[in-house]
């Protein structure tokens, strides 16, 4: 690739937030016709960098150059007008509007009298989708489609604008294999046209397939920039984690690693869990001292399964038994009483109560136990809070600090404390280390590991394959709301997992009936 002047240049950009240095003197060069990988662990600064480039945030120091000229964007609108198009990890479209409306939002083609030409919108949207091989009804409301299709619509919108720079943040997280191929075809086409692409992903296979150069971020700093062909995968991981290559080779990449000894009698038995239209006859067991991983692509039904077990949504049929006793369906309170605990995926919307204190958040589930005749015992509460803040190493200025002021890692620890102080028998963790910096992540992983060693039954949901493979004793693979495979022990590798998820069912790995204890 000939050396051309960079189309986008980030020069020594620094961004601070209260209590956190998100970006520290970051520099990055994007050449036209280049696919540039941006990698790093959660919390390394990738999202912040993208938001600075697109104008969501303003840098505290440093400069940004587009096409050789310095630019300063006050809001996303300006960066888009300048030719930077972004596809975000969360689908940032309007769910209630149709596919066609979403694609053309803000730049609808007009007919006579300057009014929106509805037919033309639908027609042109259908053309765009067809050009990229996306199958969807353009008039359907966006939220009624699968997440993969929604993401493809977001991609279609982003590239149907004339852009010089396209940024893709985890674009394949909701896509199936066929859709990923379509996406790569689009990327190659854009490359031919001289567009510069920034590709953010933690899926190493994809990076090595489609990207030219790579920039690695860690704790807000650039630790490596160069051609991907000159970097082995292990070297890349080592850069991301900040560990010695030899260490990574030996120990693996996560905080998991202990040997668990599972007992015989299951502590949780899920049988034929069905919740139309999302879950169909899901059955599996969890034994004390065992970590059961739930694997699957986005939309496979992992969170729905977890919520169904916890009683957050009522079941159409099926049952959940804890320590042999059936738990009433559709009631979190009943599940909690039976000893089930659930750490939701989205701590912001389902986990922390932002304006309340750390103290209040920790005791939220324990209130009935801390109160007599409806009155809360301040003393019992304070003792409990102090104990768990210390045990888990929760860093806050005081137990009365509003929990929204804590870092992501500490917030997650607060939520863990909420459940651990209940002495649960089964702990369900949905993406427990998402959005947390490297250090806290390993801490939490080790904590869960220790809990399992001490006899807790754990259900672990994670989209980070290595977290799943290194942390689980057994893995239940889900696809479209049904169990398609069961792996245990040595069978649990990234390759096997991906194969089961892709081809499901008859791949030779355990079927749902194996590995579960016999029913009564």
């Amino acid at each position: 690739m000939e050396q051309r002047d960079p189309i986008l240049e980030v020069r020594r950009v620094t961004k601070r937030f209260p209590g956190v240095l998100a970006l520290d003197g970051v520099s990055l060069e994007l050449r036209p016709g280049e696919v540039h990988a941006l990698v790093g662990e959660n919390g390394a600064g990738k999202s912040t960098l993208i938001k600075v480039i697109t104008g969501v945030y303003r840098p505290d120091e440093g400069q940004i150059f587009l096409g050789g000229e310095e630019v300063s964007f006050a809001e996303p609108r300006e960066s888009q007008a300048a030719g930077i198009s972004t596809i975000y990890q969360e689908i940032n479209l309007i769910p209630l509007l149709s596919v066609a409306q979403n694609i053309f939002l803000g730049r609808e083609p007009r007919g006579s009298l300057g009014l929106i030409d509805r037919d033309r919108i639908n027609r042109e949207a259908a053309e765009i989708l067809e050009r990229y091989g996306i199958r969807a009804d353009v008039a359907a409301p966006l939220h009624s489609l699968g997440l993969g299709v929604q993401q493809m619509v977001a991609i279609a919108r982003a590239i149907s604008v004339e852009a010089r720079v396209v940024i893709m943040d985890e674009p394949t997280s909701s896509l199936e294999a066929r859709e990923v191929e379509t996406l790569f075809g689009v990327i190659r086409q854009l490359r031919e046209e001289g567009v510069g692409l920034i590709y953010v992903s933690h899926r190493l296979d994809e990076l090595y397939e489609i990207c030219d150069r790579v920039t690695v971020l860690r704790d807000g700093k650039v630790v490596h920039t160069g051609e991907l062909t000159e970097l082995s995968r292990l070297q890349l991981i080592a850069h991301m984690l900040g560990r010695e290559l030899a260490e990574v080779e030996a120990e693996g990449a996560t905080g998991f690693g202990e040997e668990h000894e599972a007992r015989e009698e299951p502590v949780l038995q899920a049988r034929d869990l069905t919740q139309r239209p999302r879950l169909h006859d899901i059955s599996f067991d969890v034994r004390p001292g065992e970590v059961v991983g739930l694997a699957g692509l986005l939309g496979a039904g992992r969170t729905e399964t977890a919520r169904a077990i916890f009683g957050a949504e009522p079941l159409d049929s099926g049952s959940v038994k804890v320590s042999g006793e059936e738990v009433k369906s559709g009631s979190p309170a009943a599940a909690i009483r039976a000893g089930v605990a659930f750490l939701p995926e989205d701590r912001k919307s389902d986990g922390i109560i932002p304006d309340l204190s750390v103290k209040a958040n920790i005791v939220a589930a324990a209130l009935p136990r801390l109160a007599r005749a409806g009155m809360v015992s301040e003393k019992a509460q304070n003792e409990l809070v102090e104990e768990f803040m210390q045990n888990l190493g929760i860093r806050a200025s005081s137990p009365d600090q509003p929990v929204r002021e804590l870092s992501g890692g500490n917030q997650q620890k607060v939520l863990l404390a909420r459940w651990l102080c209940m002495n649960p028998r089964v702990l369900i963790l949905d993406e427990p280390t998402r959005g947390i910096d490297v250090g806290a992540k390993a801490e939490i992983q080790k904590l869960v590991d220790d809990l399992a060693v001490n006899g807790l039954g754990v259900i672990l949901i994670s989209s980070e394959l290595e977290e799943l493979t290194e942390g689980s004793d057994r893995v239940v693979a889900l696809r479209d709301g049904a169990v398609v495979g069961l792996l245990s022990g040595e069978e649990i590798t990234e390759g096997n997992l991906m194969e089961v998820l892709a081809h499901g069912g008859g791949s030779g790995y355990g079927t749902p009936e194996d590995g579960n204890d016999a029913d009564e």
Binding site: L93, I94, P95, Q101, G106, R107, R118, R276
Partner: protein, 330 residues
């Protein structure tokens, strides 16, 4: 967000069909109900379908209707405007006070002043990021106080001979002038909402404000415009009402914001924003107006029963909508 398989023709297919039906019912149901109510009333009451009575119904609803057009935009954008009733009163008072000076002022000044107030509302809400409920609540109190102060707490009379009163009492081709105004407002408002770029953005902002911002849409400007329009229409309605009654009453429009919200909600617009229609709001206003009319027809009930019936009607509609919303594709 709901997770479904990409192919809508799955076993979940007929579930999707039913859910779409419920959603359509919730969104468009008001028009259907309106037709039904009109049909039943025509049969049950002899006087109902007369030109005189129908004109009465529409005229009664016209002044609220103007406000409802603005309120529809505001609610779909995810906000609310509690100050419209007070702006109506202020509009009427301003009209009464300026009609002697130069009568066109009585028609121009109220919408102008109230749109500036709406601009202020919009600014506080969009730029200063204050909650719409609070800002417009303050508006409700403050503007009412202003209207009362300007009018010395008494209605201000308007000379019946003034050309201004034609706007409230005159007719064009046999149709009362205020009705012309409100019909134009609904038609223009409906077109803007459904067929212009601005309308699309209003839906986007109400549907998911954060996404709209990230998509590069002018969120703040959109909100400010919505509140400005709401103010302008409330001021205009106040002026027209004053023209009709030949008096600017600082106590006019009391609790009208609640009626406007009711009409919009009955019409199928989601109070949380992001979905709705002008035709639904029109149906809502007409339904409320017809309800009043029917109560009067029955004759014996009196204004107390009117209130009771209105309350019960609102509850029934809202419960039905809540049911449809839950079973729909939300």
């Amino acid at each position: 967000m709901v997770t479904r398989s990409t192919d809508t023709e799955t076993a979940g297919g007929d579930v999707l069909w039913r859910e779409r039906l419920f959603t359509t019912l919730q969104r468009r149901g008001a028009v259907v109900v309106l037709i039904l109510v009109v049909a039943v009333s025509a049969v049950a009451f002899d006087n109902f379908l007369t030109a005189q009575n129908l004109e009465n119904i529409v005229l009664q609803g016209a002044f609220l209707g103007l406000i409802v057009v603005g309120m529809t935009f505001v609610i779909i954008s995810g906000g609310i405007d509690l100050s419209v009733g007070s702006m109506l009163a202020l509009g009427g008072v301003l009209a009464a006070q300026t009609v002697e000076i130069f009568w066109p002022l009585a028609l121009i000044l109220p919408p102008l002043v109230c749109s500036l107030i709406g601009l202020g509302n919009g600014f506080l809400i969009a730029r200063a990021r204050m909650a719409p409920f609070i800002v417009t609540l303050a508006g409700l109190l403050g503007i009412r106080g202003l209207a009362l102060a300007l009018a010395n707490e008494k209605p201000i009379g308007i000379d019946g001979g003034s050309p201004f009163t034609w706007f409230g009492q005159g007719q064009i081709l046999g149709v009362a002038v205020p009705i012309i105004f409100v019909v134009v407002a609904f038609v223009v408002g409906g077109l803007v909402l459904a067929r212009t770029g601005y309308g699309r953005i209003v839906f986007a902002v109400g549907g998911s404000e954060e996404s709209a911002r990230l998509m590069g849409l002018p969120v703040d400007r959109t909100k400010v415009i919505a509140y400005t329009v709401s103010g302008a229409l409330a001021g205009l309605s106040g002026a027209l009402l004053a023209a009709r009654l030949s008096a600017g009453d600082p106590n006019a429009g009391l609790a009208w914001e609640l009626d406007a919200i009711s009409a919009v909600v009955v019409g199928g617009t989601l109070l949380t924003g992001g979905a709705g229609s002008m035709s639904g709001s029109l149906a809502g206003v007409l339904l409320l107006s017809i309800l009043q009319n029917l109560i009067n027809q029955v004759g014996t009930l009196g204004s107390y029963a009117q209130q009771l019936v209105s309350g019960v009607f609102l509850i029934i509609v809202v419960v039905a909508q809540a049911y449809l919303t839950r079973r729909g594709t939300y």
